[in-house]
Amino acid sequence: MVRLPYTTALTTLFSYGLLFAFGQLRDFFRKLIDWFKAKNVKGYAPICLGLEDFYVRRLYLRIQDCFGRPIASAPDSWFDVVERYSNDSNKTLQRTSNTTRCLNLGSYNYLGFAAADEYCTPRVIESLKKYSPSTCSVRVDGGTTKLHTELEELVARFVGKPAAILFGMGYVTNSAIIPCLIGKGGLIISDSLNHNSIVNGARGSGATVRVFQHNSPAHLEDVLREQIAGGQPRTHRPWKKIIVIVEGIYSMEGELCKLPEIIAVCKKYKAYTYLDEAHSIGAVGQSGRGVCELLGVDPADVDIMMGTFTKSFGSCGGYIAASKEIIQHLKHSCPAHLYATSMSPPAVQQVISAIKVILGEDGSNRGAQKLARIRENSNFFRSELKKMGFEVLGDNDSPVMPIMLYNPAKIPAFSRECLRQKVAVVTVAFPATPLLLARARICISASHTREDLLKALDVISRVGDLVGIKYFPAEPPKIAEAGHDKLE
């Protein structure tokens, strides 16, 4: 939960107000100067009306060098960031051929599969030579290889469901599946902080959408009772079906979902559950099986489990795991299965190898080691940051930790200063988060060593002092222990 102090809120609002005022002033002068140039094509409505791209032009472009930094190596725990410069105050950025070696705190590399791996990489290169980078075909036509069927069975076994279906892109998995499961006359109840792909899928389906307060099973129950009793809007006919959509780990908050309570509520009211495990599959849980394992929920209780391969498995693509009948139905009707090019075979092989390592089927215990390391790393890092006085969101065991910045000026300050000290962090502002709640998001990986983490803590602490984001009092260092030892 974000606890925004009043003074911070006031100063943030004031900063945004000032930026807005300056932006308007510059727009006014730009209009004046352009009056004499008249370069707009006559008769066509402008492609961006008035204030639509005001945020991009006047706020985002000023700090454009903090976003979209190109990298020149694999996103391992240390990587090369390309240096850029600008000749026209950040309107355009030019790349140089110099790179800086930085500590990577921004990639979703939870288990360290992003870099070359001794088990996965040789197999991937072999499959690239055998199957080529793309099947050039949709799944139903000629795009299903042996690898695809093998991976579907493996994913189903890993997650604990009877069957699974694969897609080439994680975003498409949500936005093309939800319209197949529910249509007009159905109700979708989704968490207020759900990802944009779920929102788009819900809109594309034509069903009515209601939102419940983030992670609040009590409010979910209220909404369910009200909706079932009221029925469809205006006609009051009973709903055809109700699907409740939640995520395993919310990527902007780092929080785990309260899954057991939500499943209990859904079972009581006969609603179907859809769990999006994009960030939690492979990263949490005793053996990497996701939030269900971590929170002790039986996978059979969740109707549909969705996940992506981009985060923990070092590949690309998404999957849906559910009962055999649902998967059969999806294979016949989902547009992403019938029209989209199938997943690239080397990417499929990468996921197969990664899952085998996690399960220990490659003959070593590297998987278990990685899982233990990521848990240790995340808990250590989070507790240290909290001790220093930063406002860190998220639950224990979650590898995503956002540090609140709030003020718009602190975003580029934090980002640039950290880069100068060779630590690369990702800062997130509007539109991915609410306007006042800008944050820096740290993603911990199993490939970070203890020295890496200590260096990161040191840099962040110094930069935090410089920029002024230690909103909570720091814990005093433990000096009393020396006194106790003397008494023993």
Binding site: G43, D53, V138, S175, L181, N200, A229, W239, Y339, S344
Partner: protein, 385 residues
């Protein structure tokens, strides 16, 4: 004028009587030393009546919210439908009714729906229908000039193999001041002298096309897609395009594969001549297939074969086509596919057999395919010829 005089007289008489009543001695009173005239009493009474009416509650039917017990009962009674409909035996994909209509692929339809704009469809690849729709939308409509307007077409339609006549579309676009969004998944790397797409094929300057999108899973043999346009258009999408902002980026090896594919195409334009000769050869050989006819454009690498005579039932049509495809695979090891339709797709174009021609095919491959297809379709469609 005649009528007015008696009316005026009558009114004057009435007024005189009323004022006399007011000025009668009993109408005057002195209350607390203040003279009260008669008309004040009437006014006081009127004000009292008004205040009385205002203070009364208006009639509303009493609201009775549901009690907790009633809500519990409703929740217990409610039964949801199953999450997926039961699978029919045979597992064939449902076919919709066949009518000729707009034919963009599902990806475009979904994008149009999610954009929350007003979408107007015109007849598939019919320029007269497009012109009349544009005329209808803009005639006399002053408001239309302020809103952003786009014509969305595909260069080679995935659902039918037709090619959009870009020169006519550009003429219409300039006349009615619309912008053009061109979906070039199947023509990028195929049409045009050097494979640059539909604009090169028709000799239209590329600046006239405002936005071009394409998937790279076809000619470029990788995954993913791209969108090009002016600097303003593309920069705007870096923060506003949902699929770009909220989604992971393409794996680097696929981007490298795409770059290599484009470089190869630039250095070896002979692949295009191979492709074109293969398409022409296929058209020639398949022109006399019993029971099937080619309904795609002569330059399209997607060769679309549909039934010459429809059986009247879409399910039987699909059965016949699938049987042809299965037998061709089993007997001659030739892999062809029928078109599949999702039930979410609102495109109503007819189904058929789709052949995707490649520059890598040789002449013997083409003749093997055509002889096999002719033989199998002659036997399968013997009752329907």
């Amino acid at each position: 004028m005649d009528m007015a005089l008696p009316v005026v007289n009558a009114t004057a008489a009435a007024l005189a009587r009323v004022s006399a009543a007011f000025n009668a001695p009993f109408a005057r009173a002195v209350v607390f030393g203040v003279h009260i005239d008669g008309h004040l009493v009437v006014e006081g009474l009127l004000i009292t009546v008004i205040v009385f009416q205002l203070s009364r509650k208006s009639y509303k039917p009493p609201k009775k919210p549901l009690t907790e017990k009633e809500i519990d009962e409703l929740c217990d009674e409610w039964e949801p439908e199953p999450l997926c409909p039961p699978i029919k035996e045979g597992g064939r994909i449902d076919t919709p009714m066949l009518e000729s209509d707009e034919g963009v692929q599902w990806a475009v339809q979904n994008g149009l729906h999610l954009s929350r704009s007003t979408v107007v469809y015109f007849k598939h690849n019919d320029m007269a229908s497009l012109a009349s729709t544009l005329e209808k939308l803009t005639r006399g409509n002053k408001r239309a000039e302020k809103i952003r307007r786009y014509i969305v077409v595909e260069s080679i339609y995935q659902n039918s193999g037709q090619i959009a006549p870009l020169d006519e579309i550009v003429k219409l676009k300039e006349k009615y001041r619309f912008r053009v969004i061109l979906e070039e998944s199947h023509s990028f790397g195929v049409l045009g002298k050097s494979g640059r797409g539909l604009a090169e094929h028709y000799g239209v300057p590329i600046e006239k096309i405002d936005i071009i999108t394409a998937g790279m899973g076809n000619a470029l043999a990788t995954d993913g897609g791209f969108c090009t346009g002016s600097v303003r258009v593309v920069d705007h999408q870096r923060l506003s395009s949902a699929g770009y902002v909220f989604s992971a980026s393409l794996p680097p090896y696929l981007a490298t594969a795409a770059v290599s594919a484009v470089n190869y195409l630039e250095e070896n334009p002979s692949v295009l001549t191979n492709l074109r000769s293969n398409i022409a050869a296929l058209h020639k050989e398949l022109s006399d297939t019993p029971g099937l006819e080619i309904s795609s454009h002569i330059l399209s690498p997607i060769v679309f074969l549909k039934l010459k005579k429809l059986t009247g039932s879409p399910a039987t049509d699909l059965d016949l086509l699938e049987t042809i495809a299965e037998r061709v695979l089993k007997e001659d090891s030739v892999f062809i596919v029928t078109s599949k339709k999702s039930n979410l797709d609102r495109c109503r174009l007819p189904l058929g057999i789709r052949l995707f021609v490649s520059a890598g095919h040789t002449e013997s491959d083409i003749s093997m395919l055509s002889s096999s297809l002719k033989r199998v379709s002659a036997s399968v469609l013997s009752d329907y010829l």
